[in-house]
């Protein structure tokens, strides 16, 4: 799923400072799962905007903000959108982009789009995939160094790790330690011996 995070409300107010009659579009896919664009967050946004004196025309939470056929399909789901002068999309950048294509009015994002990640046991897992278009994740035990190593190294760790933690973010485990333990666990340590040549870095 796409991992996004809510912009500070003050930033959203700044974006909308000259706008009114706002229609909010949430997203029942990724954004809902990580609670930055599901119905509860959309309703909360409506309340907060109204508290700040904004008129909110209405809202809609489509199954996926990144999959919208036409403006008419939005009208079908909530005709109030016709009265709106601006749209606030509570989804990832693809959602904002897709809605912008069909709506002839200003469209604003309420979220920052961070990475392609996942969720497991209630925990949000960011940066699981770098979307490089050349998947080799199997060789790394299902842990992608392009997504998770800040230097995107393919041939092993840099010398910057301290006590198994990442040089860039000491709160995070060095992904190469995780890859090593994972491959050890599944009996595939030999995969680490492969030299990844320049051709395979892109």
């Amino acid at each position: 799923m796409i991992i996004s995070s809510a912009k500070p409300f003050e930033e959203i107010m700044e974006l909308l400072k000259d706008e009114d009659d706002i229609f909010i579009i949430g997203c029942n896919a990724c954004a809902a799962k990580i609670q930055v664009g599901g119905e509860p967050e959309v309703i909360m946004m409506q309340q907060r905007l109204e508290e700040q004196g904004k008129r909110v025309a209405g809202y809609l939470v489509p199954s996926a903000a990144c999959s919208v056929a036409s403006f008419d399909s939005l009208i079908e789901k909530n005709p109030v959108i016709k009265e709106a002068k601006t749209i606030l999309v509570m989804a990832c950048g693809s959602g904002v982009s897709t809605v912008s294509r069909v709506a002839d009015m200003p469209v604003y994002p309420s979220n920052n789009t961070d990475s392609l990640g996942g969720r497991s046991h209630g925990e949000v897992l960011p940066e699981l995939c770098a979307m490089c278009g050349n998947c080799t994740i199997y060789y790394f035990g299902g842990i992608c160094p392009k997504g998770q190593c800040p230097k995107q190294l393919l041939n092993g760790p840099c010398g910057g790790s301290m006590e198994g933690k990442c040089e860039v973010d000491p709160q995070k485990d060095c992904v190469w330690g995780l890859i090593y333990r994972r491959l050890e666990k599944i009996g595939r340590l030999n995969l680490l011996e492969r030299v990844w040549e320049c051709e395979e870095s892109r």
Partner: protein, 305 residues
């Protein structure tokens, strides 16, 4: 002619760094830091202290991601003064075009030794918002250099004239880090002709490292950094990856009347202990090389000084 003049008063053995790597000599390399600014006098002065003592001088490349003068210019200045140079090249600031381009430039200016590394991340330096490149990694940069030496760039276009270029790499010397050891093996498979290590303090640990890598036929030059205080030792233990100063050494530093003297004495002792295990030492003092001649004399490496 510069070479002759240098040999006449140099206790280092004659020959290029490449020739010395293949010889039985115990080698000394030392780190020179490019200036933060355009004045080369400090770097050249530091190099002058090492004339006749060091077999080659490593010129660092925006070390610790702190912006400094390009190692290309500093290498050229050192070469002009008759020093042998190992130019360092990181993957942090250049994509594969710029890396290859700088290698050609370095060679044309007279650089014959290059040492490659990933490089510290930009977030650790003085321009933390700089976009880090890491287009290719250090193993891949070795691959690129090998191809260039064979006469081709990374796209297979013919390029001429990198004969005699010697290429090395770096490694931590911690045998308890299996991934580091795996990467070291890859570096050697991709053509690293010498390895310079992170600073060694624990001779016992270094011995295990050398045993584990005993099957690798590559000269290892062990890094050393003389301690200046117990505080510095603790700081390095907590902040510099790959460095482990043993507690008894920190205790010695704490009790010492003159900690800087003690640091030199400890470092010389370490060199004596590891001398038989490796091909040479790489001296990387914090600050200048003022005390490096003394260090090498006490360690019994450059007796004439």
């Amino acid at each position: 002619m510069i070479l002759k003049a240098r040999l006449a008063y140099s206790p280092t053995m004659p020959g290029t760094f490449k020739e010395k790597l293949l010889s039985d000599d115990f080698l000394v390399t030392a780190e020179i830091t490019p200036p933060k600014g355009t004045d080369l006098s400090e770097a050249l002065g530091d190099a002058e202290i090492l004339r006749g003592l060091a077999d080659a001088l490593n010129v660092t490349d925006n070390q610790r991601a702190v912006m400094r003068m390009s190692p290309l210019a500093v290498s050229k200045a050192l070469l002009d003064k008759g020093h042998e140079v190992i130019m360092q090249l990181t993957c942090r600031d250049r994509n594969r075009l710029a890396l290859q381009s700088d290698v050609l430039a370095a060679y044309s200016l007279g650089v014959r030794n290059i040492c490659v590394m990933s490089g510290d991340h930009t977030t650790k330096g003085d321009h933390p918002k700089a976009r880090p490149v890491f287009d290719i990694d250090s193993v891949q940069l070795l691959e690129a250099l090998r191809k260039m030496k064979e006469g081709f760039d990374l796209s297979g276009n013919a390029i001429a004239g990198l004969e005699g270029l010697t290429v090395g790499a770096v490694s931590n010397a911690d045998p308890a880090q299996p991934m580091q050891m795996l990467k070291l093996r890859k570096k050697i498979r991709m053509g690293a002709e010498f390895i310079q290590t992170q600073a060694v303090y624990d001779a016992g640990q270094f011995e295990i490292f050398m045993e584990q890598t005993g099957d690798l036929e590559v000269p290892v030059i062990a890094g050393v950094i003389p301690l200046k205080s117990a505080k510095m030792a603790r700081f390095m233990n907590g902040n510099i990856p790959g460095i482990r100063v043993p507690p008894e050494m920190i205790e010695r530093m704490e009790k010492a009347e003159d900690p800087a003297d003690e640091g030199i004495s400890i470092c010389a002792q370490t060199i004596i202990e590891i001398k038989k295990l490796c091909k040479g030492v790489h001296v990387m003092p914090i600050g200048t090389h003022d005390r490096t001649p003394e260090l090498l004399r006490i360690a019994g490496i450059r007796k004439g000084y």
